[in-house]
Symmetry: C2
């Protein structure tokens, strides 16, 4: 099976109007807001949020949104074909000088322009400032993030597909576990399986770690061979039409030891603490605190070293995290990862991660792969 949404049904108009409207509602009065891409990978996902464009890079390109919820795009000739898939006016530049001229021409009539400082590279800001010294630039990052946090119907449709892909792969990969297989070979297999299901690619560098490497939360994948008794920790995501999913499962080659089982069960329980709490009105900070408190109350005290989760969407880390420092009231159609873990340096680690949508009265788990203890 492969998973493709029909391109033809994907109409932009209303959806973009609503996204842009949300941004303007969330910020002080401005004449326009701009989203400018750097060179890959320094692309502003805000650009892709407001344009709805799912192909192309648009390096150096700019999207301008207006208070009437209209939008236009300035792009290099190279991306003209891709830009035409959008439902808006495009202006094409053929040189750097022309790009500057167009930026100036489009923006110099304004007094106050919003910028998305979280997605904008400082160099592009300096360029704007030089071209338009009289204009006041206002940071609208928060308004953009708030809008992006709550996914619309089209975004949910795409995200669900991305989650469906990784779920199928997380279940299927177990057939590939055998003594001697290397971490990077499992990583290769994961990407292959995701792309065969229609993913553009992985949404981040796959973590495929065995044995004691599983204790390093951001390890990627090395040359280590799988052996009996090993933890197998796989953390991977599918990118589909620019949207990201992100799942982690921990498996065991052979029978898990009592110690391993204890760690696994504790992490699963910790995840349940979060899943039981998530619903509109709850503070994300409290979800994290409950999970952290739960783990602190076990013999794995001190071994949970990261946040409980993060918003996910066009970026893998798409806005705020579920962590002790961030006040964030959950709302319907926010999508988060829920990923507690326990890491014992030199021994191994367990992490279990799902992507969940906040529903009207709880949460929906979008990543449906098995998570009872899996011994292969």
């Amino acid at each position: 099976m492969h998973i493709f949404l029909s391109w033809n049904n994907y109409t932009h108009g209303l959806m973009l109007t609503s996204r842009i409207g949300k941004i303007f509602q969330g910020c002080d009065e401005i004449d326009a807001a701009v989203f400018i891409n750097g060179a890959e990978p320094l692309l502003d996902m805000g650009f892709f949020y407001v344009t709805g464009l799912m192909e192309g890079l648009f390096e150096g390109g700019m999207a301008i949104i207006y208070p009437d919820s209209s939008i236009e795009v300035v792009t290099s000739l190279l991306e003209a074909e891709s830009a035409k898939k959008g439902d808006f006016e495009i202006t094409i530049f053929k040189s750097k000088a022309e790009r500057k001229e167009i930026f100036k021409d489009k923006l110099s009539k304004f007094k106050k322009i919003g910028i998305n400082s979280q997605g904008l590279i400082h160099k592009n800001y300096l360029e704007l400032k030089e071209l338009l010294p009289e204009i006041e630039f206002v940071d609208v990052t928060e308004a953009v993030n708030s809008a992006r946090m709550i996914k619309d119907e089209k975004e949910m449709e795409i995200l669900k597909k991305a989650c469906q892909m990784v779920s199928e792969v997380a279940d299927g990969i177990v057939d590939f576990f055998k003594e001697g297989v290397k971490e990077y070979e499992v990583a290769a297999e994961l990407s292959y399986m995701m792309q065969k299901l229609g993913a553009t690619g992985p949404s981040f560098d796959t973590i495929s770690s065995f044995g004691k490497n599983t204790a390093e939360p951001h390890y990627t994948a090395g040359d280590v061979a799988l052996k009996q008794g090993d933890f197998i920790l796989l953390d991977f995501g599918a990118k589909y039409r620019r949207y990201c999913s992100d799942i982690t499962r921990t498996y065991f080659l052979g029978e898990a030891s009592e110690k391993q089982k204890g760690m696994y069960t504790t992490v699963l329980q910790a995840q349940k603490v979060a899943l039981d709490m998530i619903k509109p009105g709850v503070n994300g900070k409290d979800v994290h605190q409950a999970v952290a408190d739960f783990i602190e109350g076990t013999k794995y005290k001190g071994l949970f070293t990261h946040s409980t989760g993060h918003s996910i969407g066009l970026s893998v880390h798409d806005g705020v995290a579920l962590t002790k420092e961030i006040d964030n009231t959950l709302e319907e159609n926010m999508v988060f990862t829920v990923e507690p873990g326990i890491y014992e340096p030199g021994y191994g680690g367990v992490r279990i991660e799902d992507n969940v949508r906040v529903t009207s009265d709880g949460c929906e788990i979008l990543t449906t792969a098995k998570k009872e203890l899996i011994e292969v």
Copy 2:
């Protein structure tokens, strides 16, 4: 076969000293320079250049370099294990507040601090400015880019492996071409083959296009099935220890038509124009102009719509491009893509791309995949 460099032989010390020294030589007098990562994918490859770290994300982390070529790193607890692979002092923060305190503590004694505005997100700049209102921030992007343009021995070793991986895959993928295979299936196969050779993943979203889609230079991969007579354009890269390769080959299913052959031969000749010119002392702009002039003198006038190439390294677009607007004198150990193309909208396109190292008197082609016309 898979390709791994031995981690143990990979010593940091001297190499980092030399990289940092080059940066300070290239900029005005400053007390220190900082490299701060945003959230993935908005990571500053400058951070990874000066630290030599090849694992981990270091989101929100900072590298500080000093005029005596020393370096230290500030990182979250999450990345502490990965940071320990470096050969420098690390300071760990456990919260956002602690991070700010450490930033302030490390930097407030200075008057002038360099920032890499091309890799720094504006939000992180605003944070620095707020924490350290008295300090003058100086853009050192050019010095960083100049240093990064010329690859050292260790970088070349890694880059060559990344190029070797894509070359093998570009030759091997032809076995997979058959009527009915979909663009995304070929993309999946490419990633799989690269990762089986040891790549962390693709260095950018693979372009796998058939038939008239090949006329869109930044198309990614869709649901289109391969049919007899189609152009097959594959543009992909391997990421290996953070370094990127980038190759394009164009193939034909069945016998190429006279028109297709004409396009292919012209692009191959255009590429040779560049390869014959590249050597130290030549201006990259002139290389592009020669290629553009060559194509303009054929019946494909007007159909070459992008630059001839770009520097490649830690980023796919790692510094300057070979294009008409950029003055850049080639030097030994710069590495560029050379990738002319011809695109006839609605019909199809041909691009041939290699990665080349500037040698003392010419260039060395690092991507050795076949490029005579391939009819499968």
